[in-house]
Symmetry: C2
Subunit: 229 residues, 2 copies
């Protein structure tokens, strides 16, 4: 029997790479989708390519868009990435790295791809614990997107739409995510998380993303294979 | 008092231009948003620029993305645009010009812009009468998007989100839309609708979009100012 197809949002970070490995473990044929949208560096996209190859995805698509034209975040505009905050601080409020409607845009493209390839399953590494401040990682948001998605497609008109957005990591801590990934054989040396790498290409170890990652590996009792400054 | 801001999806066609004129008439300060996404020609984007200038919008943003990478429609891929269908035929079923999840992608970017500029009102020229086959023009879809949008933003987390998607044309015939636009002083010579213009730059008069437009002007008792083959 042919494998069921799944669209996997793959940023090349720990969460999306683990979510993709979970989809693969569940027996889906993976169609990975990565976005170039005016991030500060290409490193994330390169990491996504490596992870996609490692997971032997059926296809890896990259969609480019210029969110910089809209702006509004340290990840796309000229706002400084915060450094040296504690993970407790990171977990509260909406960070300046929040990109307006970013996940809605990502999921919309994933929906387009799903409709094109006739997939019903979308895997999305959203997580509410580490970044409680991101509105578009909350379960009620995911449910509302899923409901909208099932009205948005051709199959929706015929009442046959069965789009399911899987968020297997939504209530997991970073340590639990890493443990799960290691159990599934994910090679985290291929992933990338740092918002602001050094000129030598090392992870900065101070941005929110590095801090959460390092804390996660420590709590998982594992060693992060990435090179840090 | 400062005018309320509204994001207006502006493709440069009859519907979106009329919707924008309605938003202006209602007293909003307009932020027009146009997409380049692998259409067959730049003509639509040029029309959108002219209409935006005509309506004296505050800002006109253009977002580019490569939906061609995803494909799945005569408007973005190498499928022939249908010609010479009657408007009755056009009104039934989902046309090959349907782009998967296109309106969801458009509205997602509009939501990002709305969040950035702190606008709560989005104007979208969706219409169900002429193209009954498009799933993402139906009122139930629009409502589901609006509900999702109000959970997707920073304001949503604080329970203060009041995103409203206005679809003033949703139940109007093309003739009613044109009459309304003429009443508001819209210069339809600036707009563009044809999916497949001739090499000389004339509207083909045979594609679904030309047929609906011509029929609309005829029923409105008006003359379409565009040059046709």
């Amino acid at each position: 029997m042919a494998k069921k197809k799944a669209v996997v949002l793959l940023s090349g970070g720990v969460d999306s790479s683990t979510a993709a490995a979970i989809a693969k473990k569940k027996g889906f044929e993976l169609y990975a989708l990565t976005f170039r949208y005016g991030q500060r560096h290409e490193r994330e996209v390169e990491a996504a390519k490596k992870v996609a190859a490692f997971l032997k995805v059926k296809e890896h698509l990259t969609v480019d868009f210029n969110l910089r034209a809209i702006g509004g975040s340290a990840l796309t505009a000229e706002i400084d990435v915060p450094k040296g905050r504690s993970t407790k601080e990171i977990g509260h409020g909406i960070p300046v790295t929040y990109v307006p409607a970013r996940n809605t845009i990502f999921l919309s493209f994933a929906l387009a791809l799903a409709e094109k390839i006739k997939a019903e399953d979308l895997f999305f590494g959203a997580n509410i614990l580490d970044y409680s401040g991101y509105p578009d990682c909350r379960p009620e948001y995911i449910e509302a997107f899923e409901r909208m998605a099932n009205l948005a497609t051709k199959a929706g008109v015929e009442g046959k739409s069965r789009i399911k957005i899987h968020t297997p990591l939504i209530r997991m801590t970073k340590a639990e995510i890493i443990r799960k990934g290691l159990e599934l054989g994910v090679d985290y040396s291929l992933t990338w998380s740092c918002y602001d790498p050094t000129r030598e290409g090392l992870a900065c170890s101070l941005c929110d993303s590095c801090q959460l990652r390092l804390k996660g590996f420590k709590e998982a009792g594992a060693t992060d294979p990435l090179p840090y400054a």
